[in-house]
């Protein structure tokens, strides 16, 4: 019965979204919000007793535990149910959009990383939007808001294009949102990225996800996937490579060991028509 009701509401949401024309704003790393009333309507029609995260304070506690367990967000966190009409998560965006999810705002803080060099401070005052699945409590996405007054870099393309880029580069894939919680928090994963030469303190925007990930035949495993956007361009002088191809980087961090695993320049902003992936000879 629950599944039927949920599916009905999901279909209604799709109709409403199409009607109000909000689905066109999907081509961005920041999720786009549907009409706020929609979340309320959908949430009221669903049986919250089946949710793992039923109340605002539970959502905040969950987000806090995933991002940073130090408790620094107690006074500034807020939570509400929302419906997203657009999101560019490769492979999994359909699991994020057009259904009620918790939106937790962790506002106005500077990153403090243990691994930062002496004297290094966060360049930006950050507000994070954290999206949590009410039903399983899984983390869906963490996105820091672009700093006010700071010039933007080109946006990432939409989910379809990002998915294609990831498939084309190392047969990368996001399989699912893991049920098991990461052993290390988002903040600890950021710390681990510095072992890969990355500098989260310099990033204008940070986007994090916790997904079951694989590439090049590696066994799918839960991983932190964290993009630093608006960082100093890789290779200060790089003849023939556009600066906007080098001002972002996406890292894979092992949530069990806290080890930086690898990093990619994908996805790149803008898209061009590309061929299908060539299969190696058998």
């Amino acid at each position: 019965m629950k599944a039927t009701a949920h599916e009905l509401m999901r279909r209604m949401a799709v109709i409403v979204l199409v009607t109000i024309g909000l689905s066109s704003a999907a081509a961005a790393q920041e999720p786009t919000f549907a009409d706020s009333r929609l979340a309320e309507v959908m949430a009221q029609s669903l049986d919250r007793s089946q949710w793992d995260i039923q109340r605002e304070q539970e959502a905040i506690a969950r987000a806090r535990a995933l991002v940073d367990a130090s408790g620094r967000f107690d006074s500034k966190a807020t939570a509400r149910l929302v419906v997203l009409s657009g999101d560019n998560t490769p492979f999994l965006s359909d699991q994020i959009i057009e259904r009620p999810i918790w939106h937790v705002v962790l506002g106005d803080w500077n990153l403090k990383l243990k691994s930062a060099p002496p004297g290094a401070e966060d360049l930006y005052l950050r507000t994070f939007d954290v999206f949590v699945d009410p039903q399983g409590g899984q983390l869906l996405k963490i996105v820091s808001r672009w700093p006010k007054g700071v010039a933007r870099i080109p946006r990432e393309p939409g989910a379809k294009s990002v998915t294609q880029q990831l498939r084309r580069a190392g047969h990368e894939r996001y399989h699912a949102f893991p049920d098991e919680a990461p052993r290390i928090t988002f903040l600890e994963a950021l710390d681990a990225m510095t072992k890969g030469g990355e500098n989260p303190l310099a990033a204008k925007q940070i986007v994090g996800q916790y997904v079951v990930w694989s590439m090049m035949g590696r066994k799918p495993r839960p991983m932190w996937v964290i993009s630093l956007r608006g960082v100093p361009a890789l290779g200060a002088s790089y003849p023939g490579v556009a600066v906007n191809a080098r001002d972002h980087f996406r890292s894979i961090v092992d949530p069990q060991t806290g080890k930086w695993v690898c990093g990619f320049s994908t996805p790149q902003p803008q898209t061009t028509e590309e061929p299908e992936i060539e299969k190696p000879p058998q």
């Binding site: 401070e121 005052l125 072992k195 030469g197 310099a202 960082v231 556009a242 600066v243």
Partner: protein
């Protein structure tokens, strides 16, 4: 170095800087207009174009680098901040240098066994500017004397601007160029075991532009881009490369970086021995970086003054 659009971690070493700044100031100001981690005369070169006077606004968003008091203007108050933040230029002399061997032709693949060596980077461990020392095998497509496209696989030590962390990496990189952001990809992975390892890259066929990369004969990375569809390179290179003159080339006189089993492929064909001739090995400065041909498929490189 051209104007860079990024600002990042500025060295907050000046004792005076805290008098002028706060967290917001660090986000907006800092003085590092060109994003090279130093506040120096290169940055000051952009001051005139940004200085608007009190209430004058910012003619360019990047001018926020000079807006120390976050009043959306660049004026004499900000000049005080700039002077306090002034660090002087980087001790690293940027400019890529090479010691390498090559084979000309319609290259579509390149491979070698390379012995892992460490190398100190400019200003390590406190320096925060770009630095790197790598060894790689790769294919280049030169147009008008400049590399328009390339694909390479290798290893090295690396430091990204704004951070002090230096790390070993294996990497694969392709430029399918020349202009769009989607023409470029780099993938890198942590850790390089010691010893000798095989690095190989090759275009799968002429049909799709799919580069395959292998590490010790195991798939490492792959990338497909139409920029390499039915396109060959103009040479295969096996190279040691440093970013700054002060970065150490991999290898020393006592422990050279060995390239062995150098092979390449032409026109999507089978790999063949390189048959490197004496005239096909070169170093950008024989007084700084040594190179010695060992045989038809092998050579050594090293830093003469590590």
């Amino acid at each position: 170095m051209g104007k860079m659009k990024q600002r990042h971690l500025t060295r907050v070493t000046s004792l005076l800087l805290p008098l002028f700044c706060c967290d917001v100031l660090l986000a907006q100001g800092g003085g590092d207009y060109n994003g090279d981690s130093y506040v120096d005369l290169d940055d000051f070169g952009y001051w005139d174009a940004c200085m608007t006077g009190p209430g004058g606004g910012l003619p360019d968003p990047d001018c926020a680098a000079f807006d120390f008091d976050s009043d959306v203007a660049v004026d004499l108050v900000d000049f005080g901040g700039f002077m306090a933040a002034f660090t002087g230029p980087s001790p690293c002399t940027f400019g890529r240098k090479y010691a390498r061997a090559w084979k000309s032709g319609n290259a579509t693949g390149c491979s070698a066994r390379i012995r892992t060596r460490s190398a100190a980077l400019c200003g390590e461990p406190s320096e925060v500017s770009d630095a790197g020392s790598h060894a790689w095998a790769g294919v280049n497509k030169f147009v008008g004397g400049e590399p328009e496209k390339w694909a390479q696989i290798g290893y090295g030590r690396y430091r990204l601007a704004g951070a002090t962390t230096v790390y070993f990496r294996r990497y694969a990189e392709v430029q399918a160029g020349p202009n769009d952001t989607t023409d470029y990809v780099i993938f890198h992975e942590d850790g390089v075991p010691t010893g000798v390892h095989k690095y190989k890259c090759f275009l799968l066929s002429s049909l799709f532009g799919t580069w395959n990369f292998e590490y010790d004969d195991t798939p490492f990375f792959t990338w497909t881009h139409s920029g390499w569809k039915n396109v060959t390179g103009t040479d295969c290179q096996w190279a040691g490369e440093i970013f700054n003159k002060e970065d150490q080339m991999l290898g020393t006189a006592a422990a050279k970086c060995n390239f062995t089993d150098c092979q390449f492929s032409l026109n999507w064909g089978a790999f063949q021995n390189a048959n490197i001739a004496e005239g096909e090995v070169t170093t950008d400065d024989p007084n700084e970086w040594g190179i010695e041909r060992i045989g038809a498929t092998a050579f050594d490189i090293w830093d003469i003054n590590p």
